[in-house]
């Protein structure tokens, strides 16, 4: 039997004015196991706490109930007070007599009656409390960033600046992400490479950052503070330590017919290539699917011309294993495929392009060397139509239900840049709404309309029809004038919806991080924890979490870094002891619990179980208390009643129910 002390707080007059605190204390003494009860004006004060301490010492209390304000206020205070007296902090329960009683009731008798019941429920619970020990786990002071776009680069630099080691794993041959494909950037129109390249160089030169390009995360195990990750470094066929980045191999390579991914397939590249001039690292890779040497065995030109002797056709993929304290996902996005949008004639006419393709066309290093020209005949367009929201804000399953957020702004940017460089080109933009919230954003859009004479038409385009003369007939409606529009254009640009990188789901599964129906990674709390995933130790940076422009991406990247730094600054993590535990005698190893656990905290092991003298090997559930967040979903799902939650056990909650319904 426990020896329980009950401490009733007046909270000045906050509680005492409506609840007869003396009566609550008196009634407490009638409860089984209660061997001490008192009331005091301010239990949370120094003096109040020392009364608790004195009672614990004198009466040898094994559990205490404080009848006071909400546990959300002072549970921590009273737990600490108990701990100082050598009582396990989890032997403390709070009865909420203020927020849940005195403040909402007027009638003293009624409020006192309720207060007694709340006190009884807490006493009934504390009878079943068991001392709990917060576990400790060590923190590996190294972070992993998956994805080397601007989000990943910024997060890595911020973490590294704080003095922690960071590894970036980037799938493609270079870091930089989508931003490296952009020409100019809104809202200032500065050149993308000019602001990105210094960041890439900074990351590469940072003593605390290690970059693994052409690499992918293959396996993740462990938990917050202590993840073990296998990284596959794909064979480049070029020795990173020898290559000087001279580029001779790429010039001499006879295989030149592969679609250039960096230019969105608008031109071709050699089999040995670096994706773009500023690539980091500036070391090419051999695309073995296009390489003649790999296909037929006959070639080897690159090895012959490489002065540094860096070409190594025998290179193999390498798997490295590292441990990390925190993982940041920054896998970014891609534009959606347009095969379900036949009406826009994308794929049918070379002059219907996506906005990202236009970025490459406008770029001096792009397929047209920066000249605005039609891809079909190389002629300069005179009439350009932009169509916004292609695949965004879509109610059917062809597109995405969400707003891609960046398209209104980049379309205004494109329209403005074209009007600026080619004043004789007419630009028309079809839009559903123009959404420009953001610092200097609406001003930017208005400049496009007012200063650059871009013709904005509110309405949707029903069809783009390629004409025999090579032009494109755009059929749309003007919703404001309520009339049909037929427009002949030389070029049509589709502001295509963005979607998370297709790898997001795979990565989320590996990390047991959750993902929404659109494949964006989910944040731990949509308002209060926007850069953390629900899985402890996994953080989110950039567009993988939701559509964003560069300023927002960079801000979020910094926020994610701060969270990582906060984690890595700790030597040890205290784990929440209110975790689930399976009773090995009751568990039948059915896996139901593991299926509902949002954190992947439950695994199975074969254990030698002694069931009333019968010793046998059984498959039983085992909860990793470092991963378990204590939600209790598994406890209810368990068909055998084997799973229970410490601190909120079945028996404890039933005891409270019984006390209330008594």
């Amino acid at each position: 039997m426990q020896k329980i002390g009950v401490f009733v707080c007046h909270c000045g007059s906050n509680i005492a004015a409506t609840v007869d605190v003396k009566k609550v204390a008196k009634m407490a003494l009638k409860e089984p196991g209660v061997c001490h009860a008192e009331d005091y004006p301010y239990m949370c004060s120094e003096a109040g706490q020392s009364r608790i301490a004195a009672a614990i010492a004198e009466k040898g209390l094994t559990g205490i109930v404080v009848c006071s304000c909400s546990p959300r206020m002072h549970e921590a205070t009273f737990r600490k007070a108990a701990e100082r007296c050598g009582l396990n902090p989890y032997m403390v329960e709070i009865a909420n007599l203020r927020e849940h009683c005195s403040w909402i009731h007027k009638d003293m008798e009624e409020a006192t009656e309720k207060a007694v019941i709340l006190m009884r429920a807490a006493v009934a619970k504390v009878h079943l409390n068991t001392p709990l020990q917060a576990g400790e786990s060590a923190v590996t002071k190294r972070a992993l960033v998956i994805g080397g776009g601007i989000a990943g680069i910024q997060t890595a630099i911020d973490i590294a600046d704080a003095g922690y080691k960071v590894d970036i794993v980037e799938k493609t041959p270079s870091i930089g992400g989508r931003m490296s494909q952009l020409d100019k950037t809104f809202p200032t129109l500065d050149c993308s490479a000019c602001i990105l390249t210094p960041k890439m160089v900074e990351a590469a030169a940072h003593e605390n950052i290690t970059i693994h390009t052409y690499s992918e995360v293959e396996k993740v195990s462990g938990f917050v503070g202590n993840f073990t990750v296998d990284i596959r470094k794909k064979a480049r066929m070029v020795d990173m330590t020898k290559c000087t980045g001279c580029g001779v191999c790429q010039e001499k390579c006879p295989s030149r017919k592969t679609a250039n991914e960096f230019n969105r397939g608008l031109n071709t590249r050699s089999a040995i290539y670096t994706p773009f001039a500023q690539a980091i690292p500036n070391v090419p890779v051999i695309d073995t699917e296009s390489c003649i040497k790999f296909k037929t065995g006959k070639c080897g030109v690159c090895a012959a011309v490489c002065q540094a002797g860096a070409i190594d056709y025998k290179q193999q993929d390498e798997i490295i294993t590292e441990t990390y304290g925190a993982i940041v996902v920054a896998t970014g996005f891609d534009t959606i495929k347009l095969d379900k949008y036949g009406e826009y004639a994308y794929g049918q006419s070379k002059d219907v392009i996506t906005s990202l393709e236009l970025e490459r066309i406008m770029n001096a290093a792009g397929p047209t060397k920066g000249h605005l020209e039609r891809l079909s005949d190389g002629k300069a367009p005179k009439e350009i139509v932009f169509i916004q929201c292609v695949g965004s804000r879509c109610s059917d399953d062809r597109g995405k239900p969400y707003c891609s957020k960046i398209c209104c702004m980049y379309t205004a940017k494109h329209a403005m840049l074209i009007r600026d460089k080619y004043p004789d080109v007419n630009v028309t933009v079809f839009y559903i709404d123009v959404r420009t919230p953001g610092k200097n954003f609406d001003e930017f859009y208005r400049r496009a309309v007012e200063d650059y004479g871009v013709n904005y038409v509110k309405g949707q385009v029903g069809k783009v029809a390629p004409q025999p003369d090579g032009s494109l007939l755009v059929q749309g409606v003007d919703l404001l004038d309520n009339k049909q529009i037929l427009k002949k254009a030389d070029m049509v640009v589709l502001a295509t919806a963005i979607e998370p990188n297709p790898d997001a789901r795979k990565i989320a599964t590996m990390l047991t991080a959750s993902i929404d129906t659109n494949n964006f990674l989910t944040e731990a709390h949509p308002k209060l924890r926007p850069v953390e995933s629900p899985t402890a130790g996994v953080f989110l940076s950039g567009v993988c979490q939701g559509p964003k422009d560069i300023p927002e991406t960079v801000a979020q990247a910094g926020a994610a870094a701060v969270k990582v730094i906060g984690l890595l600054a700790k030597d040890k993590l205290k784990t929440n002891p209110c975790t689930a535990q399976a009773d090995e005698l009751l568990c039948n190893g059915c896996s139901t619990c593991a299926n509902v656990c949002p954190y992947g905290a439950i695994t199975y092991e074969v254990r030698l179980v002694n069931d009333h003298g019968i010793r046998e090997e059984r498959r039983v559930a085992s909860v990793n208390s470092a991963l378990c967040q204590g939600c209790g979903a598994c406890t209810v799902a368990c068909p055998s009643g084997a799973m229970d939650l410490q601190g909120f056990s079945n028996r404890q909650i039933i005891a409270e129910v019984d006390a209330i319904c008594r």
Partner: protein, 148 residues
């Protein structure tokens, strides 16, 4: 045959399970905003709505509760991401089963109350208590249990 119809004098026993992160905090806010609701409501704090085992609710009715309400975070806002979805499904099943054995649907309720919704918490409790008062004393599970 319903008993105690519209009996103002009748003081029901009502158990409210509130998740720690949203609804319990919503109840705290109702308190600090002095938004009253009947003292018949007694709150039990649980980490998440998904911690509420149907067994707890059956137990409450067996022990004489007249109504049980479960409050959690709004869909999509659960601190543990998905807990309230589990709770919603479990309770749908449980409540229809309870209705079948005579514990009317009005005696059970699931409500989403965020930490910012003190007003909603108090309104919910007021309307729930009014409903239970109109239904009168619950005798069903108490009667059904094996008394030896």
């Amino acid at each position: 045959m319903p008993v105690n119809q519209n009996n103002e004098e009748f003081r029901p026993v009502i158990v409210a399970f509130c998740c720690n992160w949203c609804s319990y905090a919503g109840a705290d806010l109702a308190g600090s905003s002095r938004l009253s609701y009947p003292a018949d409501v007694k709150i039990i704090r649980v980490p998440c709505s998904c911690r509420v085992n149907p067994m707890f609710i059956l137990r409450a009715f067996e022990k004489g509760a007249d109504g049980v309400i479960l409050c959690g975070c709004h869909p999509g806002d659960c601190h543990y991401s998905t807990g309230n979805y589990y709770a919603r499904r479990r309770m749908t099943l449980l409540f229809s089963m309870l209705d079948f054995i005579g514990v009317e649907n009005g005696r059970t309720r699931v409500e989403w109350v965020s930490a910012a919704e003190g007003v909603k918490f108090s309104e919910t409790m007021n309307s729930f208590v009014a409903k239970i008062r109109s239904l009168g004393k619950n005798v069903r599970l108490g009667d059904l249990r094996c008394k030896n």
